[in-house]
């Protein structure tokens, strides 16, 4: 992973940097709140937090246009917030309430928004990869220039269906961007304990797919790589792989004691590579924002997250009739 780059001249405007700061902070505060609500028993089952990886989705969403699609795994809260889904609806889904995006019937891992072109939220590791290529297949068939961001982790990268999909995506020249969020650990198994491949993106070369590794803790680097991939994809050059080198600060899920890595490793990453601190530094050191400006944003985000939590607590549980709806269209 590249070293911390605090004070270089950013290739982004003040407005852009403030936007990324705000969006990343929203994800982090939202996830912290979700962790709290889980601890209080208001969220059940599995809950996988995105804390640490915020720059990946925020940077890539900055490269997307209306009509582009996204699909991901079960660690999906960040993706939903980044593509503009309402935090209230996401949080209420986490609490299993009627106000949630899936009326409380999907939960943390299974959420969708047709309006925002967010196609889940998938609980089966790697299954979203052909699904994402299928969305891209539809766009190509329909003759538009949309692209699909198909996110998966370093763990899913060892699933066979990923390579079945690479093969067909390149064969059929599908407008799909495969985003490998390499946070170093597939649950408790580190990348070096699961593969001898020196890098994951290079596996695409076997199918003729271009790609690159990206500093996934640097939102500007992510955005630049995303723009390059999107441009190639929209120009009809077929799929592209972006391996985002990132890190999750929290456990795999809420029930993960994280004994497979040291506290020091996590602390080092937090203090040296944190994506939000990076943008904060750029804003402050570049004289683009004051401490007070950022505090005001922090306050605003906190209020927004609290509002979503209140909504998620107040929204009623789905009525019993909902058990029997939405099975067939």
């Amino acid at each position: 992973m590249a070293a911390k780059k605090p004070a270089e001249r950013p290739n982004a405007s003040k407005e852009e940097l403030l936007k990324y700061y705000r969006e990343m902070l929203l994800i982090r505060r939202f996830e912290e709140k979700a962790g709290q609500l889980y601890g209080m028993g208001l969220i059940g089952g599995f809950c996988h937090l995105y804390i640490g990886q915020e720059a990946v989705v925020v940077g890539l969403e900055a490269a997307a246009k209306e009509g582009d699609k996204r699909v991901t795994s079960y660690r999906d809260h960040g993706h939903m917030l980044a593509c503009g889904m309402d935090p209230k609806g996401v949080m209420a889904e986490l609490t299993g309430r009627i106000g949630g995006y899936s009326k409380g019937k999907g939960g943390s891992m299974h959420m969708f928004s047709k309006e925002k072109h967010f196609y889940g939220g998938h609980g089966i590791v790697g299954a979203q990869v052909p699904l994402g290529a299928g969305l891209a297949f539809a766009d190509k068939y329909l003759g538009n220039d949309n692209v699909t961001f198909t996110y998966f982790g370093d763990g899913a990268a060892n699933q066979g269906q990923v390579y079945e999909t690479y093969n067909m995506a390149e064969l059929w020249n599908l407008p799909v961007i495969f985003v490998i969020e390499n946070n170093g650990y597939a649950m408790g198994t580190s990348v070096k304990r699961s593969t001898k491949s020196p890098s994951l993106w290079e596996r695409g070369a076997a199918y003729g797919i271009k790609g690159e590794a990206v500093d996934g803790m640097d939102v500007l680097a992510v955005k630049a790589a995303g723009e390059k991939a999107v441009a190639a994809c929209r120009a009809g050059q077929g799929p592209y792989i972006l391996e985002m080198m990132t890190y999750r600060y929290r456990g795999h899920s809420m029930s993960d004691p994280a004994k497979y890595r040291t506290r020091e490793e996590v602390e080092k990453m937090r203090s040296e590579k944190d994506a939000i601190e990076h943008v904060r530094d750029l804003l402050l050191q570049g004289g683009l924002a004051s401490d007070e400006d950022l505090k005001a944003i922090d306050k605003e985000i906190k209020a927004q997250v609290n509002e979503s939590a209140e909504f998620a607590k107040d929204s009623p549980e789905p009525p019993v009739e909902e058990l029997w709806t939405d099975i067939y269209a």
Partner: protein, 459 residues
């Protein structure tokens, strides 16, 4: 020494074919590997090669002859200097004795009419067919016509699968579709079921209506995660925002002599899953009417075909708007004494059993379920209330069968009408054996169905 050249079996289920063209003439010297003739099966036109060198002494079957049974002598090969008259007359009767005939050690069942041709449903009440003109077509043609009509109707319907395009379909179901609709809509895939099933589900979310052909449903086990976790559950998990309007189709169940990994009936597996629709046609009319409904349906539909039925002919309404609704069984034969509930090829076996039973004065009522999700319980229960006896017939394994579910439903909803326990006739609880005699024992037979029907009639 003259030798006979016999009509070859060119597929596991081929019983006869057309000798389309001779590529040699009498007196020609041929070498091993030389192409002698083109033979047309119901699946494809195949080249037939000499396995030995020699001289074509006589061509016994004229080119263009249809319905030439497997193992019929079609030519006589002689050695150099020899003529046909030098050699003994070919023993045609011996030559046509099918290899699959049960060996003497197998207890013969006199009543077992299995190899006899299926009697068409004509003459029996066929309450599902609307009034109007019909034409005769095979199940294969009916499936093809259904796809072609629906592809003409909706530009977002497309077919994908292994060998569906340039090869014209492994079982010729998609023959001609590539020519009409082009490679954009008839998509040949690599051999990668898990991957292309997932891509198809994604495409259905993206606004298309995929028809996924599995070369057989045995291979769909590689893809079952996408069928169930991705296709069947998404409408529910998304709170109704997005479903998967698509069809998964292909041959299901046993063909002939293809062994354990290619001979499983998945009816009960898929019928267990909420969110799926499951069709299992018997006749060509079922095939056409149900497949058109399936393609138009906004839900993921499992469409279980049968290779042995592909070549059988039935009457099909010519009305282009003919469809069969889901959840509506047909009473394919009326009777007062016992209800036989079946679907798919089980209906064919049941019809044969009913003929046998009729000779003993037992009139069976046969219900063709046609769809297994939803199931038309009302038609079954009404029939049981009339006959007071019921057996179920399917090819699948016995544990957790459709018959088990039906028996339990009948017990719960019509217990007082039953004069005998419901008997569930199924395939045997064994992986499908390869040996011809063992395979016969593993499959449900008309004789077993007739015996079960007699048993519930206490006869």
């Amino acid at each position: 020494m003259a030798t006979e050249v016999l009509m070859p079996a060119l597929s596991p289920t081929m019983e006869e074919g057309t000798l389309a063209k001779w590529l040699v003439k009498e007196g020609d010297a041929v070498k091993s590997g030389q192409i002698l003739a083109e033979i047309e099966t119901d699946k494809a036109t195949m080249e037939f090669e000499a396995t030995d060198e020699g001289i074509i002494g006589k061509l016994l079957i004229a080119e263009g002859t249809a319905g030439v049974k497997v193992n019929t002598p079609i030519a006589i090969m002689v050695e150099d200097g020899e003529t046909v008259s030098d050699s003994p007359a070919p023993k045609v009767a011996e030559a046509v004795a099918p290899a699959a005939e049960a060996p003497a050690s197998v207890p013969a069942k006199a009543a077992d009419p299995a190899p006899a041709p299926v009697v068409a449903a004509k003459g029996w009440p066929h309450t599902d067919l609307p009034e109007g003109p019909t034409k005769t077509m095979t199940v294969r043609e009916a499936l093809r016509e259904a796809m072609a009509e629906e592809m003409r109707r909706d530009p977002n319907v497309f077919l994908m699968g292994e060998e569906v395009g340039e090869y014209q379909g492994a079982y010729k179901i998609s023959q001609g579709l590539l020519d009409e609709f082009g490679a954009k809509r008839v998509v040949d895939t690599p051999i990668t079921e898990h991957g292309f099933a997932g891509i198809a589900v994604g495409a259905s979310w993206g606004g298309l209506r995929p028809i996924v052909e599995f070369m057989t449903f045995n291979f769909a086990m590689q893809a079952i995660d996408h069928i169930i976790n991705s296709a069947a559950k998404t409408l529910y998990m998304s709170g109704g925002q997005m479903g998967s309007p698509m069809v998964f189709r292909g041959p299901n169940g046993a063909a002939a002599r293809v062994g354990a990994q290619h001979s499983q009936d998945y009816a009960a597996w898929y019928a267990a899953i909420p969110g799926l629709r499951v069709c299992m046609p018997y006749s060509a009319a079922d095939a056409k009417g149900l497949l058109k409904s399936a393609i138009r349906d906004p839900n993921p539909v499992i469409f279980l075909e049968n290779e042995i039925l592909y070549g059988r002919s039935f009457d099909v309404p010519t009305d282009p708007d003919f469809t069969i609704p889901f959840g509506k069984a047909s009473i394919i034969r009326e009777g007062r004494d016992v209800t036989i509930v079946s679907f798919g090829i089980g209906v064919a076996h049941s019809l044969l059993a009913a003929e046998v039973l009729a000779k003993d004065g037992i009139e069976a009522e046969i219900i063709n379920l046609r769809t297994l999700r939803p199931i038309d319980y009302d038609t079954v229960l009404a029939s049981v209330q009339k006959t007071n006896r019921c057996i179920t017939v399917e090819e699948g394994f016995p544990v957790g069968s459709i018959g088990d579910h039906m028996a339990s439903t009948i017990m719960q909803r019509a217990f007082d009408y039953l004069d005998a326990p419901v008997i569930t006739c199924t395939g045997k609880d064994v992986p499908m054996p390869y040996a011809a005699n063992l395979e016969k024992f593993a499959l449900i037979t008309p004789a077993e169905i007739a015996a079960a029907a007699k048993s519930v009639c206490y006869r």
